[in-house]
Point group: C2
Chain length 466, copies 2
């Protein structure tokens, strides 16, 4: 199998598909088990799986980190996190009891080989006691600087494969800082793990509406015929946050909006919207089609960068009724920083389907509203038959909006006649809310679309950085 570059997408569907083949018991080793990601996301997510799926019997967690905890202490912290962050409250005592019995803690530095010897012992013991059959998942939930040490030590200890069962490694973004460092990390991973053992994760892709994009496009007969340059005027992909840095100044100062959001989440959304139908709904065919989109992206070079991108930074102001400081006054941020907190890119995909159709990619922090959505704006009908209604406002183009958060769902804007004896046309929405699918399918009132949000209060970085 040829090596994949980091622009090749982690596949959110892989896991989902596997689950149908009755999941096997395994041990998940979480490196960086005392960190924020583990407690806010991983442990609550695992508990939710235990509650809903349920998890395979014997499923176990080993928390691997530097701080000195006992199993019991780590379990207490896990329970606290689940209490705070699980969407299913209150905690179910039986489920927790069973889940907690599989939670263990292993104290070690990431670079210390003896920690990995202890890990080998513990995994073998768990295989024996809990029947996990040699199946392991390593989850790297540490700062990226630790990845090489952990990967190398796993390899040195022979933990990169089991005598029986399978071994997988999950690597969170950011996967390197640029092309060179991403290639270097890939090289280190590939020295120890085979490609099919490696899962590069973008947690954004677990959202229902993201997963629904392919279903919407390919399980229905009526959208795909208009999903191309002949009918689509342009596409807007927006990831707007109303929050600021939330104490992550030191990290963000090194990253900026493009590294934090665009190269991962936004480009993933782009590939899902723009890809050709895969030959099958399986990991590799879907991945291959996504890669084709990324290869077909026109690079932004030379004057195009100025013409087709905007970078900006938030200043002091008001968000949601609260006064907020400007970016350069945030803790951990240089007062001279030119790190962008807002970015818009206008990109083109040089494919038969999309040639000439602009895709606007837009993300930022401290914006007036939190919303993630993909808006596909269609062209006007070829002939304006209802000219006489112009007195009542131009007929607006159709817009199909795939809303990822909040209120995950789909809206279609179309023109309809206003009741009455005059021929007056107004744009209206048909809405569907994903969250209501699990119970009953009843619609809810629409939120104003993101395109109505005013993008104020962003100081342009163009002058600063060029």
């Amino acid at each position: 199998m040829p090596q994949r570059s980091v622009v090749e997408a982690p596949n959110p569907l892989r896991e989902g598909l596997r689950i149908k083949h009755s999941p096997e018991p395994c041990v998940m080793v979480i490196f960086g088990a005392t960190g924020d990601l583990t407690h806010r996301k991983l442990l609550p997510a695992l508990y939710n799986l235990a509650l809903e799926t349920p998890l395979p019997a014997g499923f176990s967690v080993v928390g691997f980190a530097r701080r000195p905890y006992t199993d019991e202490q780590f379990r207490e912290q896990a329970l606290e996190s689940i209490n705070q962050y699980s969407r299913q409250k209150p905690v179910n005592p039986q489920v927790w009891e069973s889940f907690a019995s599989g939670i263990h803690y292993l104290q070690s530095d990431f670079h210390n080989p003896s920690g990995y010897e202890k890990l080998t012992e513990m995994l073998n013991k768990l295989d024996h006691e809990r029947g996990t059959g040699g199946n392991r998942i390593y989850y790297l939930s540490t700062p990226p600087s630790q990845y090489p040490d952990i990967i190398q030590n796993l390899g040195a200890a022979g933990l990169n494969r089991s005598r029986k069962g399978w071994t997988r490694i999950i690597i969170e973004k950011p996967f390197g800082r640029d092309l060179a460092s991403a290639r270097e990390l890939n090289r280190q991973v590939a020295k120890v793990f085979r490609e099919e053992q490696v899962y590069r994760i973008d947690h954004y892709l677990g959202k229902e509406t993201v997963q629904n994009i392919l279903v919407f496009r390919f399980a229905n007969g009526i959208f795909e015929p208009v999903w191309n340059r002949r009918y689509v005027d342009h596409v807007q992909i927006t990831v707007a946050e109303n929050v600021g840095l939330e104490g992550r100044g030191a990290y963000y100062e090194e990253a900026g909006a493009i590294r934090d959001m665009v190269q991962n989440h936004v480009l993933q959304l782009l590939t899902l919207v723009a890809m050709e139908p895969p030959i099958a709904f399986d990991a590799n065919p879907v991945r291959d089609e996504k890669v084709k989109v990324l290869h077909a992206l026109q690079p932004l070079t030379g004057q195009d960068v100025v013409a087709n991108s905007i970078r900006a930074q938030y200043g002091p102001g008001w968000v949601g009724g609260h006064q907020v400081t400007g970016y350069t006054d945030e803790p951990g941020v240089s007062s001279l920083s030119v790190t962008e907190t807002y970015v818009v890119l206008k990109v083109f995909i040089d494919s038969w389907r999309w040639a000439g159709v602009p895709f606007y990619l837009r993300t930022g922090k401290h914006l007036p509203k939190r919303v993630t959505e993909i808006a596909i704006q269609f062209k006007q009908p070829p002939l304006m038959l209802f000219k006489r209604s112009e007195a009542h406002g131009q007929v607006e183009p159709n817009v199909l909006t795939l809303r990822i958060q909040p209120d995950e769902g789909i809206s279609l804007k179309f023109g309809a006649k206003v009741p009455g004896s005059e021929m007056q046309i107004r744009s209206v929405n048909m809405d569907f809310f994903t969250g209501l699918l699990s119970s009953a399918n009843s619609p809810r009132p629409t939120n104003a679309s993101c395109s109505t949000v005013c993008w104020a209060n962003q100081r342009s970085l163009h002058a600063v950085t060029r």
Copy 2:
């Protein structure tokens, strides 16, 4: 202008478009002013126009009928009807006062020339007193057998045109009983009126969703590309009534479902769904495109009649919790009647757009549910990518439903992913309700589609009639 046959459609849009050019004052003469149609529909509709539009100053109504009433008595009856049947309650005293001041009554037999002399005098007087400028509308709200008398007398009295202003005649369905009688009626009309004076009315076409069909199709860019044989599997047009004859046995016995509903309402809906885009949204271009659809209809002949049609009659049973008698036990109906109360036709349109796509036309009385709707069922996507979800039921095709009554609106059924870690697809609806457009655009819960209604309790007439 060549003479139009009755299969050429009356144009629902004509009036709507004209209203924008500030309506002129006129007198509406209602022949058969004491009848059911006048009191249940015409007078309440005129009052609603007075309330909403408003009507042009001086607008007047002359009720023409045999019964001996004074203006005052006729006004009292009109108020009673408006109180009972107007959708705007209670009656606004100022609007009623002004509207009533223009209402007059003229007692005469329809065949008596002296009645038309009195009418001439009255119209001239109204022109003088109320400034109606010689503009007249004659509304034939009598049994069809009276039409020839009235038309002939209008001509003889010179009331078929005014010295100044315009003269129009409105003829309600049924326009003849068959091709020969329709042609004969048309001939009589044409002797007295020029074609552009004649309005053949199908009141069904005034419904908002009917008028919305063309807007939906042609003011939006995304529906027309899939509105053809390449993407549409079949179309169902359903006009289901839960009521029975409601005392109209003698009429219905002579008509039956095909004459009562199919040749007018249902075929009109068919033309609106199937027509090509007109070159302009004006009366003649729209009429021309409708006629093309009717000309392209494959005639049902020979064995096709048996294979592609069902005629049936309701028997005794239960509808909506009430026991109802069978058709042949209804007052005014022969116990040996083979008049159909239910009909289904499978028809094909031999056009480039629709060749090979079946259109199912279906109507009947005493059905489980009152619903009028057009359901466009699309073909499945060419490739079934989501085969693995078959365990959870086949992916269903897309259906676009234009609901005309009740709850006028539009629904789109499409497949979406059920939230959760499995790839399970379920059909969901996006809905839009026309009635909510005038105020706010907020959706309401969906009714079950008509296609789920069970068409039970209909005795087939095939054996009886062939």
